[in-house]
Every structure is written in structure tokens, then in C-alpha cells.
Symmetry: C2
Subunit: 425 residues, 2 copies
Amino acid sequence: MIKLNYEHVLHEIDFKKYRPKLEKINAGINNKTGAGNDYLGWADWPVNYDKGEFELIKKNAQKIREKYDTLVVTGIGGSYLGARAAIEAINGLMPQKGVEIIFLGHTFSPTLTAQTLDYLKTRNFAINVISKSGTTTETSIAFRLLKKLLIAKVGKKKASEAIFATTDAKTGALRKLATQNGYTTFTLPSDIGGRYSVLTAVGLLPLAVAGINIDELMAGALKARAESYQNLDHDVYKYAVIRDTLYRKGYKSELYVVYEPQYTMINEWLKQLYGESEGKEKKGLFPSSVSFSTDLHSLGQFIQEGSPILFETTLFVDNPNQDVDVPFENEDLDELNYLAGKGLGFVNKQAFQGTLAAHVKDGGVPNLVFTTNKLDAYTLGYMFYFFMRSCAVSAYLLDINPFNQPGVEVYKKNMFALLGKPKQK
Amino acid sequence: MIKLNYEHVLHEIDFKKYRPKLEKINAGINNKTGAGNDYLGWADWPVNYDKGEFELIKKNAQKIREKYDTLVVTGIGGSYLGARAAIEAINGLMPQKGVEIIFLGHTFSPTLTAQTLDYLKTRNFAINVISKSGTTTETSIAFRLLKKLLIAKVGKKKASEAIFATTDAKTGALRKLATQNGYTTFTLPSDIGGRYSVLTAVGLLPLAVAGINIDELMAGALKARAESYQNLDHDVYKYAVIRDTLYRKGYKSELYVVYEPQYTMINEWLKQLYGESEGKEKKGLFPSSVSFSTDLHSLGQFIQEGSPILFETTLFVDNPNQDVDVPFENEDLDELNYLAGKGLGFVNKQAFQGTLAAHVKDGGVPNLVFTTNKLDAYTLGYMFYFFMRSCAVSAYLLDINPFNQPGVEVYKKNMFALLGKPKQK
């Protein structure tokens, strides 16, 4: 579980004033009457999810773990960020025992695509292709290339056995492809949009293959839902009210802060969630991010003394997944012996406390701090649900439909015209 | 070489008005009389650099390539970002033939540190530790740990042979350590600050070990200096004038945009350069970044239709390092056959053009576009120098000393107090 500390927010927050609005907004979520209500499926998902499919996901994940050394997760946006965020947060950034998870289909990059295909020539890999329609350009191109390589390596039959498709239950190109070729399939529910889909098969299959306990993940999400369903004093709503207040006071960007590099993709997940949910009608906080202490040596100066347009939202994990002590040296030329025998986790925590004080007291930068004891599957499940619900509330506070993304279509229309895409039949 | 296109900037730019200011600023750089002139060493570096040391760097890089399978580059901020940006830009993100370059010392992360040390147990590694003082906390802790592991693996003598220290020519803890233990050393010039140091041994040794042609790199930098030294019509100055104009018109953040994931760290290098140089006295554009098309599926919506506080500065590379064609399929269920036989480089370029049109015409977001034919060592050297010079000019246009970073000390002071660091003797 995560806990919000807002004592460093530097502004008066009038929770009482927001109460009637929150009541209306929350009723709109619970009764499925809010704007964009076709996409409120995530709200009750921790209760309503398909238990039969969940067991199938675990069974297939086990099969993948036994038969393959690599899984290529092929998706973009919401079909990419949540799984990657969770897997990196729990397993870290260095090569691990178990199935290697590789991501493709989230880019047109010719170089990365060519290098990944080259790397995969020597790997015994399976594919999890994730796309509601099956016509997302980046993902579909990557899938064609991966499929071609796999068939060349193991033949058509074995390739089909190694392909796992997460897509719409009934319609779309990927559903058709899967049926024709006998791929194993999982469902991307029609009432859950991409950025709210991490707790569906979209996230669950890659996480389970990576050895993450998805029972715990769903238990954490269920807990967050149970706590926040009716209780408007919950941090879910406090967080929404505080950031709305800061936005209206003129802050332009919310800077998400983590203190270990393996949490960087959690920032990226949050940036999609908030950026796509709120960034409409010329409104919204610009979601940005840093990873400290690394970025204290790059953006720290700006945060401390530059244009006062930012507030920070920090996630700090009290107990790191692994730790290592500072060694003692007979000669203390680098003057570090005062830390000898102390863990890096301890040092990192003092860096966090020292930075918080510097940015708040000297820099005048409002800080919201989420802390958690440990970032395990349960906490991640809790956190994913927490931020999805809080984000929906935030968008509604701006009078914005949290679940559409009309602006994303504009560049695609231009791109398709430049590419010479034929009109849809 | 990179070329600036500013036809999509959406505002009148009065270059003439800036002329007298630019003349004064440029004289201050060339005559070493500008604010912070103790740190103007980078300006003539492509001419003045120590040719003897340069040859030694190449010789030692060759030795490392022959004797070791891994080089751990141990530094933070300016002793980390430039080398990583260049190596990833040229070699890509997937495992390569040749020496593997690993970065540590840029974080307190207990998890990443523990996992990296664990990984290195099976590697035959050398260390390049980079620190002017040798007491940078993140870097010094990592260096103690790496040294301990290396000594345990190969003994004290062979460990000392495998350690390459880049540090101040005369003073500091790392210089002393190096002298006592007989490490090979390279110089971090005293008149060049961290974020302006990529073309010194700081960047040169890791790049050469990674197989990048550092003669070409320096030739590119020399070209950028020669072009921009006197010519105030050069893009170096135009870029500074345009971003200053947009800043004064109220834009809050400059969003650096790249179109392949291996260029992400170039964005990070730019963010340190501009954030630390300009972010003082409550001034400066907040430097932020995205990698497209990936992030069009997360932040694209906000850029297109959210709060109008951003302008974009895109780097587009015309010819990718590698390419791969979209395959043909007999059944065209995913409707991609219209692209069959086309390279991903072509598709990526249309995504760039389509996005540019969408953001500028429909979104009203000013766009500056840097294009280059190919991102090789020569272009990178040109680019590094281009942005360092342009950034110094930008800071001077804000009446700010580009070369100090007073705000970075505040969190460190707090952190040292919390850690119980003894007062310096």
C-alpha cells in the first residue's frame, strides 16, 4: 500500500469545498454515468475480472516459462507501459534468471527493430502480441516481422503455438488472425481503454511470465478499490484535490520523482495515464519525470532555482528489493568511511530527505510524497488501481472526459496520407 | 552536421534586434571575459585539446578492447550522460559485439548496484572512474564497491592495471588514489565543467572503447567551432535567439523530441546542459523530452490538445544506422501490404512529417527541427559543440552565468547532515 504525505504542499487545500463535486464525480464512476462511461470497466475490474481467464493466463505463463527462454511483448502505449513498469520495478534492470522479457512494437525505429530481430535469431522465443484492433501500425509491423522470423526458425505450426494474442473478444484483425492460425488468445475488455488496462490480460500475461505473483497484484488492486469505493476522505481523492488546487494556482507541470532507476517506467506509465486523460481542451498539468539522485545532477539545479512552474510528486520505497553496504577502506582518501557498514538503501533515503527539504524549504517547490514499505506485486496492484481511479477523478474535476484521446488521431491521419494508406474497405 | 529549420516556429523572430547582444556575448566567449570565464575552456577545446593525451586515450582504449570484455564507466551528471548518449546513439540499445559498456556510479540505487555487482562477478571487467574531486558520493561509493569486487577477483596488482581514472590534473582524492595505486590517469581540465566535458577524456575514453571513431568526433567539433566562431548568422545563434524569444513569449517548457529510442540519452544530455546552465534566479525554460513514435501513444494527446505551455525541438536523423523492410503477407488482415517492401526508416520519416504537421497546424505548438543526414561520430562531435556553444549564448541572453550550479549544493548539504558526514579537515 502507498500512503500520501502532503505536509510539504505549501498551499492551503480546501478539501471541504471539493466535497460536493467529489460526491457527484464518484457517483458517476460507481453508477457508470460519468462522461465516457463506456470505458469505466476498470473501476470494478478487481471484483469482476474473469476468473476463468485468469487461471488460463497463469497456466499459459507457466507453459511459456517451461518452453521458451524469451518472451517478446509486442504492443504500444497502454499495451506496453504498464507491463514494462511492473516487470522492471520488481525484477530490476539487469539480466535475470528465468524468461527474458523483450519489448517491441512500441516504435518504428528501424535500428532498434533490426537489432532486436538480430538478437532474437539466437533466442528460443514466444510472442505476446497486444492490440485491440490488430491494426495499430507500430505493433502490426513488428508482429509481421517477428512472425516471419519465428516461422523461418521453427516452422508455421510451432510458430502458431508460440504466439499469444491479447485482443478484442470478437472483432478486429488480430482476432481473425488468431482464429485462422490457432493462436492462444486472451481478452482486452471492450469497456477498458489502453491506459487503464494494466490489470487485464494486457499486463497479467507478461507479468506472470516474468515470475510476478499476479494473485497478489489483483489482491492489492481489490484492496485499493474496497478502500476508495465510498470513502471520499481516501488518499485517492485527496491526491486529485491537491493537484487540482495546484493546477488552478498556476503550476504548469507535475514532476514525477522516483529514487531508483528501475522505477523510471512507473513514471512513464503515470505520464500516459495523466497526459492522455487530462490533456484536452488546452487544459491539464504537463506530466514530466525524473529519477533521483541521478537527475539531481542534471535537472536538480532547475528544480531548485529555475522557473517556478513545477511541483513534485515523489514515490519513495522504504525497503529496497536488494541492498549492499558501503565497504570500509584503511586509507580514507575519498572520505567515505563514515558510511562504512551502512546500506545504500540508508544513504538513498537520506538523499531523499535532504532533497525534499532543499526543494521545499529553499526552493519553494510544493512536494507530494507517496511512500510505501516495499514495492511488491501487492503494492503495485494497489498503486495501479489507486492512480487510475484518482486520475479519472482529476480529469472529471477539469470537466474533461478521462477516457477518450481525440488528439492522438491527428498525426495518424497525416501519417497515413503521407504513407499512401488506402481508404478502409 | 545538423541543420536548423525554423519555419514552423509560429512567431515572428526579430534576429536583428538581438544582434548587438549577440556581438557582446560572443566576444565574451571568444575573449574569455564573459561571466563564469574560469569555465570557458570548452570553447577552444577542439583546437587546443592535448594531442598527446588524445593518442594515449586511443592506445589505452585499444588495450582495454584487447584485454577485457566489459568496461564499467563510473560517473554521474556530466561524467556520465555525454558518453552514454554517444555510445547508445551510435551502437544502439541491444547487446553488441565488442566490449560491453556498463554504467554505475550515477545512482545510490541499492537494487541496481547490487544487481550490477552480481552481474560483474562473471565478467572480465575494467573500470573507468570519472570524478574531478574523487569525493562525489554516488561515484565514490560505486568505485569502492567495484574496486573491492575486482581485487577479490584478480588481486590488487591486476586490479590497479584495470582501473583508468579521469580526474583533475593535480588535486583531489582520486588523483591521490591513482598516484598511490598506479592507475592509468587522464585529465579533466580545470577550466571545463562537467556538462561541457563530453569532448574531453571524460567522453573520449569510453567512446573509443566502444569502438567509436574519436578522431571523427573531434573533427566534427572543430568544424562546428570554425563555423560558429565569428559568424553570428550561424544556427548556433539563431537557435539561441528563437528559444529566448519563445521563452519571453511565455512558453514554459522546451520539449526535446527524438524519433528512435537510442537517441533518448541525447535528450538527457541536453536536459542537463540547459537545465543546469539556465535554471537559476527563477528563470529558464524547463527542459523535458519524449521519444516518438512511442510517446505519441502517451504524451501525444497532451502535446496536441493540452495546456499550451510547450514548444518542441526535434532532432530527426534522415538515414538510420540500420533498416528493415515491412514484409508482404498473402492475407492482408492487418492491412499493411500497402507498406510491403518499404523500410521502417521510410515509415518513421512519414510519422515525423505527419506529427510535425499535426502539432504545428492543428495543435498550434511551435516546432524547431534539427535534421541530419546520418548520426555518426562526426555529426555527434559537431552537435555536442553546437549545443554547448548555443547553450552558453542562451544563458547569457538571460543574464545568467552558464557555468555555475549553486542550487545543486543545497540538497547535498542537507544530505550530508542527515548522513552524519564529518566536517572536512
